[in-house]
Amino acid sequence: MALVFGRDVALPDEKLLREALGLSVERGSIQSVLLQGAGQPAGSLLPTWISGFGFVFSSRADLQKARQLRGQAQTVRVSTIGYDSSDPLARLLVDRIVLNAKDAGLSLVPTAVGSTDLRLTRMPLASSDPWIALQFVEVQTGLPQPQRKDSSIEELYAAEQTALASQRIVPLFHLPVFYAASTSLKNWSLRMDGTLDLTNAWLGAAK
């Protein structure tokens, strides 16, 4: 789950304000209360279990720095934030993000209809392969795709860092995929990428 901006940064102030917004969101509180502990707060596009370096990108809120960045911006305008009106959780999340942004001195107006400046977006991982997953995110957010040379971990890190530095996307959470299964389905599990592992599953008698 991430905040995706509708266009690239055009002015220096926009870059400061987007960075301030990313620093103002209390991902921990949201994950604990609104998501009821599900998922992980995220500062990276790819989860650590895929890239191995996701923890390097901090997901902790820094309100003081956010306010400092907002103070550096010469012009601050009210932005609209969109969400999926069919998702009851999305409205709550947006409300909380708006509240956090307000603490940093940023004004966001939530709206469920029309085009918006940024949008709370659920973005499924396309693959457990980091490059494919990153490429999918870049395509979804409209970021340019970098030329891959040797597919090393350094190159992947640099690619993700470039994508984040564009301030086109603010990662919020890495959420698991939930499946509901009948109680008669026994011994099934989920793989790390969220797909079902039915290798050792069996059907028992229903009670």
Partner: protein
């Protein structure tokens, strides 16, 4: 302005001022009564508002109390024992409980005032409650609070209850219900009264913050725009006290409303101004009553003034009649009718004045009689003195002549004849002189009454001038120039032409006597306010002021050989014509006689045109 009109004016003004005063007094009393009733209605409404507030507050307090004692809350308080800050489990609890207990607002706070769960703003968990420091958990009463919402604020009744958890740590519930149009609609308002509520937010008045239960939707009442309340609201915000003001919706004063703006404050040490209760009373009934009073006052006042004019006209006529009679009598006395008297009626001051007037005229008449008697005696004395003086002069030569004759008869008979002839001539001359003197006295005593007819004064003046023309030029070295300035527009007057001719001749003769060395005589006529003025002036030796005063006195003369009767006759003739004569002179600067004759033509009997024409001519 006559006395009667003054009285009339005073009466009318008195009535007008009285009616105006009564009308103003009634208006003042009416306004006071309405203001008192208005204050009572406002006080009743405020009391009702407070009762309703208390009732709803109690209802909120009961509901919060019920929530505080409910199982989920008790369990939560036990779980949040002061060490745990995991609010995840209770995130939605406030919303659910508030819905179950029909509360608009419910916030669950931990012991530090941090929001555990919020029904009205779920996303605000973990944030501190700004009003926590001002909330008294010991006070069981409800209070007014401005609740901040996600995109607005709302005014509501709130109650706080503490839920004892594990140990000494408590959880607080802040629950409330919205103070909205429904609350205002629930108030039982008297006729012509309405209640509005302004939610005090922001730095300036905003029409959107005004709750008007009668306004349809959010568009408000276009006929009564909310912006009209801005001055009243701003005044309350500035002075933070109850203020009243009149709001005029249209040019019709009947549409005005008196609004009492009552500040509604929150709780705490420095209670914030949260809202302004606006209680409005229509002034239509007052304005209509005021109009009726004014119309009635105008009607009664107008009728009263007419009646007062009629009554005062009658009364003033009654009061002023004796005064008018007195004034007429005084005028009669002034014009010479000393027998004038007024009728005495009653015993009031005017009657006393009339009595005094009558006494005064009687006294004046008596004094006049005494004066006439005195003057008559003085005149006889003067006549005797003059007669003695005039007769003594010729008698002495007569005596000498007779004694001379007697002496000649006895002592010189030879020349007696010659002396007798001379003495006879002397005696005849002196006797003739005596006859002349007696004739002039006789003439003065036989002054005839004027025979009035229509006379053109200019013609008489011209005739006199022609008469004396030869004498003016008789002595070439001492010639007298005669100048005439006659007003050709003079109207004929009623006069005796013979007597008038005699008067002017006398004056011209006097003028010639005053100029032995020649000079100029001027004859002028002019019209003055209906009268005819004739002036005869000379450039002679003039008169002293003393001579001017006495010149018309009979037998007074400034000439060596005058009888002193000429100007007395002149004055007598002019007086008999109803006119007057005056003299203006200074020694060495000539003398001017001015005769003023009244027109009096209306007093003449109508005559045939031919006869009138003939009468207008003067033969000299």
């Amino acid at each position: 302005m006559s006395f009667r009109r003054k009285l009339l004016l005073v009466f009318a003004l008195t009535v007008f001022v009285s009616v105006a005063g009564v009308a103003l007094l009634v208006q003042w009393l009416t306004r006071n009564a309405f203001e008192k009733a208005e204050d009572q209605r406002t006080a009743a409404l405020v009391a009702q508002f407070q009762r309703e507030f208390t009732r709803r507050g109690d209802d909120v307090a009961r509901r919060v109390e019920a929530i505080a004692s409910s199982d989920p809350i008790t369990r939560m308080a036990t779980a949040l024992n002061g060490t745990s800050s995991d609010f995840a489990e209770y995130f939605d609890l406030a919303r659910v409980v508030a819905e179950n207990h029909q509360l608009d607002f419910l916030v669950i706070l931990d012991g530090r005032g941090t929001i555990v769960s919020s029904a009205q703003w779920p996303a605000k968990f973990g944030y501190p409650e700004p009003a926590f420091a001002n909330l008294s958990t010991t006070n069981q009463d409800a209070f007014l609070k401005l609740e901040e919402l996600q995109d607005s604020t709302a005014l509501g009744f709130f109650a706080v209850r503490a839920v004892r958890g594990a140990g000494d740590h408590s959880v607080y519930l802040v629950g409330g219900r919205r103070l909205d149009k429904n609350f205002l609609s629930a108030l039982d308002l008297p006729a012509d009264t309405r209640v509005l509520l302004y939610q005090n937010r922001g730095d300036h008045f905003s029409p959107d913050l005004l709750l008007d239960p009668l306004a349809a939707g959010n568009t408000g009442d276009t006929a009564r725009p909310a912006q009209k309340f801005a001055p009243l609201v701003e005044a309350v915000r500035q002075y933070n006290q109850e203020i009243s003001g009149i709001v005029d919706w249209t040019s019709d004063r009947g549409d005005e409303e008196v609004f009492h703006a009552i500040p509604l404050r929150g709780v705490g040490k420095d209670p914030q101004l949260l809202g302004i209760l606006l209680i409005g009373n229509s002034r239509r009934s007052y304005v209509e009553l005021k109009r009726r009073i004014r119309d009635s006052a105008l009607l009664v006042g107008g009728g009263g003034i007419v009646l007062a004019i009629l009554l005062s006209s009658w009364a003033s006529a009654r009061v002023t009649r004796p005064v008018v009679q007195l004034a007429r009598a005084a005028q009669d006395v002034a014009s010479g009718d000393w027998n004038a008297s007024v009728e005495v009626e009653g015993h009031d001051e005017v009657a006393q004045l009339a009595e005094s007037f009558n006494r005064m005229t009687t006294e004046l008449l008596a004094q006049k009689e005494r004066l006439v008697q005195t003057e008559r005696v003085a005149a006889w004395r003067e006549l005797a003195r003059r007669l003695a003086h005039e007769l003594k002069n010729p008698l002495f030569p007569l005596q000498l002549t007779v004694e001379n004759l007697m002496r000649a008869k006895s002592q010189s008979p030879e020349i007696f004849e010659e002396i007798f002839r001379e003495s006879s001539q002397t005696l005849l001359a002196e006797i003739s002189n005596l006859k002349g003197i007696i004739g002039r006295f006789s003439e003065f005593s036989k002054m005839p009454q004027p025979q009035l007819q229509r006379v053109q004064v200019n013609e008489v003046v011209e005739a006199v001038a022609r008469l004396f023309q030869a004498q003016f030029q008789a002595n070439a070295s001492n010639a007298i120039q005669c100048d005439m300035e006659l007003d050709r527009g003079l109207q004929p007057i009623a006069a005796d032409p013979e007597l008038l001719h005699r008067v002017l001749s006398n004056l011209v003769l006097n003028a010639m006597d005053a100029m032995p060395n020649g000079g100029a005589v001027a004859l002028r006529t002019r019209s003055d306010d209906g009268n005819v003025v004739v002036e005869v002036s000379d450039t002679g030796s003039g008169l002293t002021p003393e001579e001017c005063e006495r010149i018309f006195t009979p037998y007074y003369t400034s000439k060596k050989h005058g009888t002193g009767l000429g100007l007395a006759i002149v004055q007598s003739v002019i007086s008999d014509h109803g006119g007057r004569i005056s003299v203006r002179s200074q020694p060495g600067k000539g003398t001017k006689f001015v005769i003023e004759l009244p027109n009096n033509v209306e007093a003449l009997p109508p005559v045939a045109p031919q006869k009138e024409q003939a009468a207008g001519k003067v033969s000299v």
